[in-house]
Structures are given as structure tokens and as C-alpha cells.
């Protein structure tokens, strides 16, 4: 059962061959055992899951089942879940139990899905390796199968590892600079970051408000489509949510790709990745040509400015978003504060990890008097140029493709001493968030036994096309079906 996709599990449940309760028991049993070495979950909600499974079976009996009824999955621990700890991977929220659901949480609840727990992540979504989590690092199952401690990527490393290890068929995730796509690539799973505004951010703990977007992670494009059907949609509680119809993302998965125009940004193939990686990625692109697509080179002239712009804008927004964590109303509070200032300073000194503090400081600096124009304002102007590059590119092609990451999964500790080397992990993914366009990572091969991801980038609201392109690729390749041992 654990190898089945959401679509397959849905059919199993529909056929009556297995009940949701039985299915959930199986997944929980395996999860509890396997996660010892993986540490992909922060909280496992066994009782609630079984209760939800029971309710799902009743719904099915009453003829009210949806494709998701009774299907097990997990939420990245950044989505607020009513009555269940939501930690954001941080000591600051280790004891936080929200009395409300994120809209994404509510959507899955209404669809009848069964949440098995909350997955591990970089603290406050700041990171590319899940090593900064207060609850310890998550292991990449591919690394484990080679006897190595490798990172699953981040910040949605827990979701990616759990899906890769078949602990759940699907898990929600979020992407601010690459945090869905990069871990998906490193763990050999399929993930999608939708257009900014496509998925509600209400109840999704904020890191960088103009960049954060909730998205999907599963093993197949079809499962991603099923997830997006549940997650996407206008939410009046989120002022940045777009009021636009949600298509059935599964309906167009099988459209033929003949005539699909693929652009390869030359800046993303400029010798910033190993020959072995490039070979895998180009091999994947050749498959697309066999499917009828055409390929041409395009340019994103301001690509090299993306990381700099991002690491001004994201920390700036984060510095304000994280001001609410002060020990006053919820979450961690230092012991025996002497006075207000003492409570503020010690709570935040003790509650936040190093990378979070680093980014709050950078963000505060970039917004401060005398520096605002040179940093924040300038970065936003550069952002506009980066966005324009994509708009121009999409006049000539339908999608862009590139490697998702410059290298496969690195070892734990390899990039933690110099933050900038960690930031450079996002070199291919980050510009996408700045522009707000959607993008996916699709398993495209292996280098030294470690997965390689192909990034597919689309124009605003082109999720259906991306999923279609990914799905067709997955009909003629089997990278996405490989299982770590």
C-alpha cells in the first residue's frame, strides 16, 4: 500500500477492498517505525488520524466521498492545524497549539483526507537543508540507502523525505525561494510551487509575505494535480489571494505535448553545475523533444541579481513578520523575565535559532534609515527587472526548463559554516519566487545514486500546463517511481 499514489489509494478505497481506518493503521505503523532514522515528522497525530479515518469511512458509506476521502497525507509544520502543535520547526513555537486551521488545512479536512502528522522543516522556513530545525535534522532517504547522512533539502525537507520514503503518498509544503522544488529534487519526488496568490496564505506561518506560497509534494504529477485541486482557490481571509476559477488540474494531464515550446535560459546552463548533472538534465530535455516539444535558448539577463535581491527582500519582510514572537501572548517565553525589555530580548535570543536571527538582522539593516534606498528599494526595483525577463521570455516560449539545483543532495554539515554557500543552493529557483510565477521540480535522473531534478517554469496561472508537461514526461520515464532502500 505504501507504494501507491494518492490516485491509486483513492481507487483502492473506492473499491471497498480496504477501509480508511485499516489503511491509516498501516501507514501509521510503518511511519512510526521508519521515521526513527529519518526524523521527517515533528508530530504524529495517531488518534486524530484514526478518528478522521473513521469519519472518512462513514462519509464513503453515505455516498459522499471525494477523491481524497480517507487518503493519508501530511502537512508541513508551517500550516496551522487546530488543536495540533504547529511549531514551524522552531523552539519559539514548540509549545504553540493554534485554535484555528489554516485555509489549506481546512480544505483538506473538508475533502476528507486523513492527516497523519506535521513534517519537519527549516526553522521558520529559512533554509535549504532542514538542518536548522529545532527538532533536529531530517535524513535524506537516498543518502541513508547509501549509508550516508545527507540532507533532504529545505525548507520542506520533512515533506520531501516522508514522500520519498513512502511514509505518506503526499505532503503539503511551502516555497519562498525554492523550498518545495529544491527538496523535491534532492529527494527524487515531484513538487509544485503555484503562482503567487493561487493558494491561500491564511494560517500559513509567514516568512516573506510577498514570496511565500503553499504548494504540493508527491511522487507523481497526477498526485500533485489532485493536491492542487484541493489547495487552490480564492480566500477572502487572504488579501493577496487571487479571485480566479480553479480548473480541474487532472483534466488536462494527458494533453499531447506536440508543439510545446521550451526555452532554456542560458544563464542557468552557464557552467554552474557539474557535467554529470547537466547530462541528466539535458537527457530529460531530450525526452521532451521526443514527445514533440521544441527547444531553444532564451536569456534571463538579470538572473545573476536574483539571489542578492532575494536576500534583501525576504529577510526584510521576515524581520517584520517575526516581530510578533515576543513571549507576550503565545509561544516560548524566557524564564522569570525581570521586565519588558528582558522578556523581549531573552525570549527572542533563546527562542530563535542562528539562521533566523541572521536574517532578522539583515532584514532590519536593509530597512533602516539611511540604508532603505540602497538596499530594500533597490532590490524591489531589481525584482521588477527580473519579473520582466520572464514576461519577455514567455513571449517566445511556453515553458522554461533548467536544473532545479546546482548539485545533488550534499552531506549534513557541508554547507552550514558559510551561509552564502547555502544560499547559492537556490540559484535556479529563487528568481521564480521574485516574479511570482509557478514552477515544478520533476525527478529526471541520478548522479552517484542521488536524485536529480528538472525544473519546469511557467507563465502566471499555467499550473495545468506544467502538470501536463510533468505527467507526460512521467509516462515515458520512471525516475519518479524509484524507491530508496
Amino acid at each position: 500500500m505504501h507504494n501507491k499514489s494518492v490516485a491509486e489509494l483513492s481507487r483502492e478505497l473506492e473499491s471497498g477492498k480496504i477501509s480508511s481506518v485499516e489503511l491509516t493503521r498501516q501507514f501509521l505503523g510503518r511511519l512510526e517505525k521508519e521515521d526513527e532514522q529519518l526524523n521527517s515528522f515533528i508530530t504524529i497525530t495517531e488518534e486524530q488520524a484514526l478518528a478522521d479515518a473513521h469519519a472518512a469511512d462513514e462519509q464513503r458509506a453515505a455516498g459522499k466521498a471525494t477523491p481524497w476521502t480517507g487518503v493519508p497525507f501530511a502537512h508541513k509544520d508551517i500550516f496551522c492545524t487546530n488543536g495540533v502543535a504547529t511549531t514551524c520547526g522552531s523552539k519559539m513555537l514548540a509549545n504553540f497549539v493554534p485554535p484555528y486551521d489554516a485555509t489549506v488545512t481546512e480544505n483538506f479536512r473538508k475533502a476528507g483526507a486523513v492527516c497523519l502528522g506535521k513534517t519537519n522543516m527549516d526553522e521558520f522556513a529559512m533554509g535549504s537543508s532542514t538542518e536548522s530545525s529545532y527538532f533536529g535534522a531530517t535524513a535524506n532517504p537516498w543518502g541513508l540507502s547509501q549509508g550516508e547522512k545527507r540532507v533532504p533539502g529545505g525548507s520542506s525537507g520533512g515533506s520531501a523525505a516522508a514522500v520519498a520514503a513512502r511514509l505518506v503518498p503526499a505532503a503539503t509544503a511551502t516555497d519562498t525561494g525554492g523550498s518545495i522544488r529544491q527538496p523535491a529534487a534532492l529527494c527524487g519526488v515531484t513538487g509544485l510551487k503555484p503562482t503567487y496568490g493561487r493558494v491561500s496564505r491564511y494560517g500559513m506561518i509567514a516568512f516573506a509575505s510577498s514570496l511565500d506560497q503553499g504548494g504540493t509534494m508527491a511522487r507523481t504529477a497526477e498526485d500533485n494535480a489532485l493536491m492542487l485541486n484541493v489547495m487552490a482557490g480564492f480566500d477572502p481571509k487572504d488579501s493577496t489571494s487571487i479571485d480566479r476559477d480553479v480548473p480541474d488540474y487532472t483534466a488536462t494531464l494527458n494533453e499531447p505535448l506536440t508543439g510545446l515550446r521550451i526555452g532554456l535560459p542560458k544563464e542557468y546552463f552557464a557552467g554552474n553545475l557539474s557535467a554529470a548533472m547537466e547530462e541528466q538534465v539535458r537527457g530529460a530535455i531530450r525526452e521532451y523533444e521526443k514527445l514533440g516539444a521544441t527547444v531553444k535558448e532564451v536569456s534571463l539577463p538579470h538572473a545573476d541579481l536574483a539571489i542578492a535581491a532575494y536576500y534583501v527582500i525576504a529577510p526584510a519582510e521576515a524581520s517584520a513578520n517575526l516581530s510578533r514572537f515576543d513571549g507576550a501572548r503565545y509561544g516560548y517565553r524566557c524564564e522569570d523575565p525581570k521586565d519588558l525589555l528582558d522578556m523581549y530580548t531573552r525570549t527572542r535570543a533563546e527562542g530563535f535559532g542562528t539562521e533566523v536571527k541572521r536574517r532578522i538582522l539583515v532584514g532590519t539593516y536593509a530597512l533602516s534609515a539611511g540604508y532603505f534606498d540602497a538596499y530594500y528599494l533597490k532590490a524591489q526595483k531589481v525584482r521588477r527587472l527580473i519579473q520582466q525577463d520572464f514576461i519577455n521570455a514567455f513571449k517566445e516560449v511556453d515553458v522554461l526548463m533548467s536544473p532545479t539545483t546546482p548539485s545533488p543532495a550534499f552531506t549534513q554539515g557541508e554547507k552550514t559554516s558559510d551561509p552564502v554557500t547555502m544560499y547559492l543552493e537556490d540559484v535556479f529557483t529563487i528568481a521564480i519566487n521574485l516574479a511570482g510565477i509557478p514552477a515544478m521540480s520533476v525527478p529526471a535522473g541520478f548522479v552517484d545514486g542521488l536524485p536529480v531534478g528538472l525544473q519546469i517554469i511557467g507563465d502566471y496561472f499555467s499550473e495545468a500546463r506544467l502538470l501536463n508537461a510533468a505527467h507526460q514526461f512521467q509516462q515515458v520515464t520512471d525516475w519518479h517511481q524509484r524507491e530508496p532502500q
Binding site: 500550516f79 485554535p99 496564505r201 516573506a208 509575505s209 517584520a320 510578533r324
Partner: protein
């Protein structure tokens, strides 16, 4: 050394929307602490703001009422600082593109002249919670009910030159926002709060001096006092050769003291940036037109109408029209009869004096405009004397009876105005006081004669058991005494 005083005001106006500016919590005053603060107001993780359309409507109405340009694409910024009454650690406000642009308000000066006070801009922002320093054993209690209430902050140019002008402007603004119905104007509840920026410069100089800001004055009286206090403080420093420190000060009205809250050096760098959780708000012509069409009568228009409709003079019309509740009270009174001037005198006189003495606002008045109007009618038609009217007023105020006529009957205050009867009484009293009659008739100075009439009034009022119409008595006396 002669000094020019330069005053600018910043006024926080709490909007009377049903719910908060970015959340659905109620804004009703007086609830138990922390019962009107939801997850968004508490800045719980993942919560997001959603703008209140009515707040924008009220802001646009305000802009139209002060002759200002309306910003078609206004933006919210985050103003960052830490304080326990500010849950998010930033206040959502407007900086670069406030909803209301430059405008003006004309005020009436005591001299009778009109002066234009320019408004620099007005912007929307969220109020913070309340800090309660008493009752918590040396700690401070935080009530977040108020956190998120919509405010319009009105910023004037430094166009005022003395406390009278500042108070006149403040009252005019109060009249405007209450007339519009966008604010309940209850300053004791903090619905309007004033910050005063004051600087001095040598008389005639073009260079502005260093200014100080005195915050959170919540009455016209305190504003007046605070201005006088600060001007004196600055003058003392400057005349001693010192320099003014640019700072924010707090004024204590009960003790007539002020102290420094923070200096410019200690001031926060607020690190303003556009709030990424809120989109720019686009206001179109239709929205503005709808707001314009919904504008109720404003003080200036009401004043003109009072002059025309009720024949009031400029001063009376201005005073009564300025406050919408007072204006409504006056109109209810005046409409009961035909003597608007008399109604105006009673509203401005006895009624206002009584409100002031009991520290009540018009809204708290125990009598209605209609009741006062009925009283005025009975004075005008001579049913009661002015002495009797005062007694009726007291009885109405005390709630002895709702009806003016019932009170008049109960207290036997109906005065006798039958000239036949009165003439008889005068004849009788004059007959009983032949010496005083002779004195009167022999007196050549009319002023002294007038004073002597008073001597007959006592006996006449006694003879009539207090019910004789004193005015008529007077007329009859003069006629009969001749001379």
C-alpha cells in the same frame, strides 16, 4: 523679545465602523478587556489583515468634507516598533500614499474673521491596544480590545498661531467628523485624541524654531492649557539663551505639568515599508461619487441654514451649528415654537451651563430638545415669567415630570397676564404706598425713577402670590405713576 507661536496639530479620529480596520472584531466601547480581539488582532501566527471597506468610505467622506484630494491608489505601510499594546510588533498605517491628500478647513476667529487652516494629509491606520498602569500591582495590564480599531490621523500644516486658533480648529474638526457620522466624537472615551506641535520663532522671522510634540490630549480644555504651558516653557528657555530640545512630551492636565517622553535621539527608526499582506487600494470615481452623495449637512452649510431658517446672527448660528448633537438639540427646541432667538439663548445659556457644571455632553442630557422647546414656548407666550421658567427647568432636569405644562400646573407657576386683574392690583398697591408714589413722581432723574419701580414690585408680587406677570406689572406701573 517678541515671539511668534507656530502650532500644528495631529488628530487621531476613531472611526465608528462596526468592526475593526483589518479584522471582523467588534469596535463597541466598554466591553470586558480582551473580549474583542480575535486571532488577527492578537497577531497569532499565520493570520492576515483584510481591509474594512467602510473605513475607506468614511475616510473618503472626510476628505471630501475638508476639500481634499482623494488618493486613487493608496498603500499601507508597516511602522515597526516593539510595545505590548502592538501585537504584531508593527502598526499598519499609511506613509507615502495616504488616502486623503492636502485640504483645508476654515475656522471662525473671535474677531469675527475667518482663517484657513491647511490640512497636509489624512491617513488610515490601526489603533493600538490600551495600557492600564493602575490596578496591576506595579505591572501594566494590556487590553487589546482597542487594537485594530480604525483611525484617521489628520495632520495639519503649522498654520495656527495661538491656542484659540488651535481650539477653534479642533472644535471645527470635531463638528465635521460628528456631522459626517464617521466618529462619535466622545473625547472622554478617546474617540478623538490631539497631539500638538509647538515651536516659537522671533517675531517676523522666516525660520521656524525647533518644535516639540505634546501627545494625547483628549479635551479642548487640556489642549488650551497644554499649549499655554508649553509656550511658556519654551519662552523661558529661549529667553534664558537656551535651545529647545526636539522631543515628545506628555502633559498632565490635572497638575498642569509636562514631562519629556522621548527625545529625537531616542526616537525609533520605524523602518517603514509597504505592507506585503495588503494590496494597494484602488478608489474609483463611482466610490467617490457615492460617498459625495451620502454626505450629510456639514457645519458650514448648517450655519448658513440656521442664519436663514431661524434668523440667527452669525455668532449664534456658528456656535449652535458647530456640534451636530447640539445643533440637533437646538433645532428640536426651536421647531416647537416661533422664537428661535429665545431658544438659542436658552440652549447657549442655561442648558449649556448646566451640562458644563455636571460635566455632561449633549448626549447625556436628561432633557430633550423638544422639552426645552416647550419651555421656551411658555416663556414666549407669557404663561410663565423668567423666574418661573428657571423653576420649570430645574424640575425638568431633575426628571420630576416629562411635560412642561404638567410642571407649570403642579407648581402653580402660571402667571397672571390679564391686564384688568393686574391693573386692579397695581391700583391697590399704589393706594397703599402713597409716600413712595409721591417720591417717584417728584424724582426728575429717569434712571433713579426706574430703580424706584423695584420698590413696588415686591408688594405687587406678594399681592399676586408670585403669579403676576412682572413685565406687565412694570408697564402698568409706569403708565399709572406717570411722570
Amino acid at each position: 523679545m517678541q515671539w511668534d507661536i507656530v502650532i500644528g496639530l495631529e488628530i487621531h479620529v476613531q472611526l465608528a465602523t462596526k468592526t475593526k480596520i483589518f479584522s471582523g472584531s467588534s469596535t463597541a466601547y466598554g466591553a470586558e478587556p480582551n473580549t474583542q480581539a480575535n486571532a488577527v488582532d492578537l497577531a497569532m501566527p499565520g493570520t492576515l489583515p483584510v481591509p474594512n471597506e467602510q473605513a475607506f468610505r468614511y475616510a473618503v467622506m472626510f476628505g471630501l468634507a475638508v476639500n481634499a484630494e482623494i488618493e486613487r491608489r493608496s498603500v499601507f505601510e508597516r511602522k515597526n516598533y516593539f510595545y505590548p499594546d502592538l501585537p504584531k510588533g508593527y502598526q499598519t498605517t499609511q506613509l507615502e500614499r495616504p488616502i486623503v491628500g492636502p485640504g483645508y478647513v476654515d475656522i471662525d476667529l473671535a474677531s469675527g474673521e475667518s482663517k484657513r487652516v491647511r490640512i497636509h494629509h489624512a491617513h488610515l491606520e490601526e489603533d493600538a491596544g490600551k495600557s492600564l498602569h493602575e490596578d496591576f500591582h506595579g505591572m501594566t495590564g494590556i487590553d487589546l480590545n482597542r487594537a485594530g480599531t480604525p483611525l484617521i490621523e489628520v495632520v495639519t500644516e503649522p498654520d495656527m498661531t495661538n491656542a484659540d486658533e488651535a481650539v477653534a480648529f479642533a472644535k471645527k474638526l470635531h463638528g465635521i467628523v460628528t456631522s459626517l457620522g464617521i466618529c462619535d466624537g466622545d473625547m472622554s472615551q478617546g474617540s478623538m485624541r490631539f497631539d500638538v506641535n509647538i515651536s516659537l520663532k522671533p517675531k517676523g522671522s522666516d525660520t521656524l524654531g525647533t518644535r516639540t510634540e505634546t501627545k494625547n490630549l483628549n479635551s479642548f480644555r487640556f489642549m488650551e492649557q497644554a499649549i499655554a504651558h508649553e509656550v511658556e516653557r519654551q519662552m523661558d528657555i529661549l529667553e534664558d539663551g537656551g535651545t529647545i530640545v526636539q522631543e515628545t512630551r506628555l502633559y498632565n492636565g490635572d497638575r498642569d505639568e509636562s514631562r519629556s517622553m522621548r527625545t529625537k535621539e531616542e526616537a525609533n527608526d520605524y523602518r517603514y515599508f509597504p505592507c506585503p499582506d495588503l494590496l494597494p487600494v484602488e478608489i474609483d470615481d463611482a466610490f467617490i461619487d457615492e460617498a459625495r452623495n451620502s454626505l450629510p449637512e456639514l457645519p458650514d452649510a448648517r450655519k448658513a441654514r440656521f442664519k436663514e431658517q431661524y434668523g440667527l446672527n452669525d455668532y449664534d448660528a456658528g456656535l449652535l451649528a458647530g456640534d451636530s448633537k447640539l445643533a440637533a438639540f437646538f433645532e428640536a427646541a426651536a421647531d416647537r415654537g416661533k422664537d428661535a432667538k429665545l431658544a438659542s439663548n436658552w440652549v447657549q445659556g442655561e442648558f449649556s451651563a448646566r451640562l458644563n457644571a455636571e460635566e455632561k455632553s449633549v448626549a447625556d442630557s436628561p432633557i430633550s430638545g423638544k422639552q426645552l422647546g416647550d419651555l421656551v414656548v411658555r416663556i414666549a407666550d407669557n404663561t410663565i415669567s423668567s423666574a418661573g421658567a428657571k423653576k420649570v427647568f430645574e424640575a425638568l432636569w431633575a426628571g420630576e415630570n416629562d411635560s412642561v405644562d404638567a410642571i407649570i400646573d403642579a407648581k402653580g407657576l402660571k402667571q397672571v397676564s390679564d391686564t384688568g386683574e393686574l391693573e386692579k392690583m397695581v391700583d391697590e398697591v399704589l393706594a397703599s404706598m402713597p409716600d413712595q408714589v409721591a417720591q417717584y413722581q417728584q424724582e426728575s432723574d429717569p434712571k433713579k425713577q426706574k430703580k424706584m419701580l423695584g420698590g413696588f414690585m415686591g408688594p405687587l408680587m406678594k399681592a399676586s402670590k408670585g403669579q403676576g406677570n412682572p413685565k406687565l406689572f412694570n408697564e402698568i406701573l409706569v403708565k399709572k405713576l406717570g411722570g
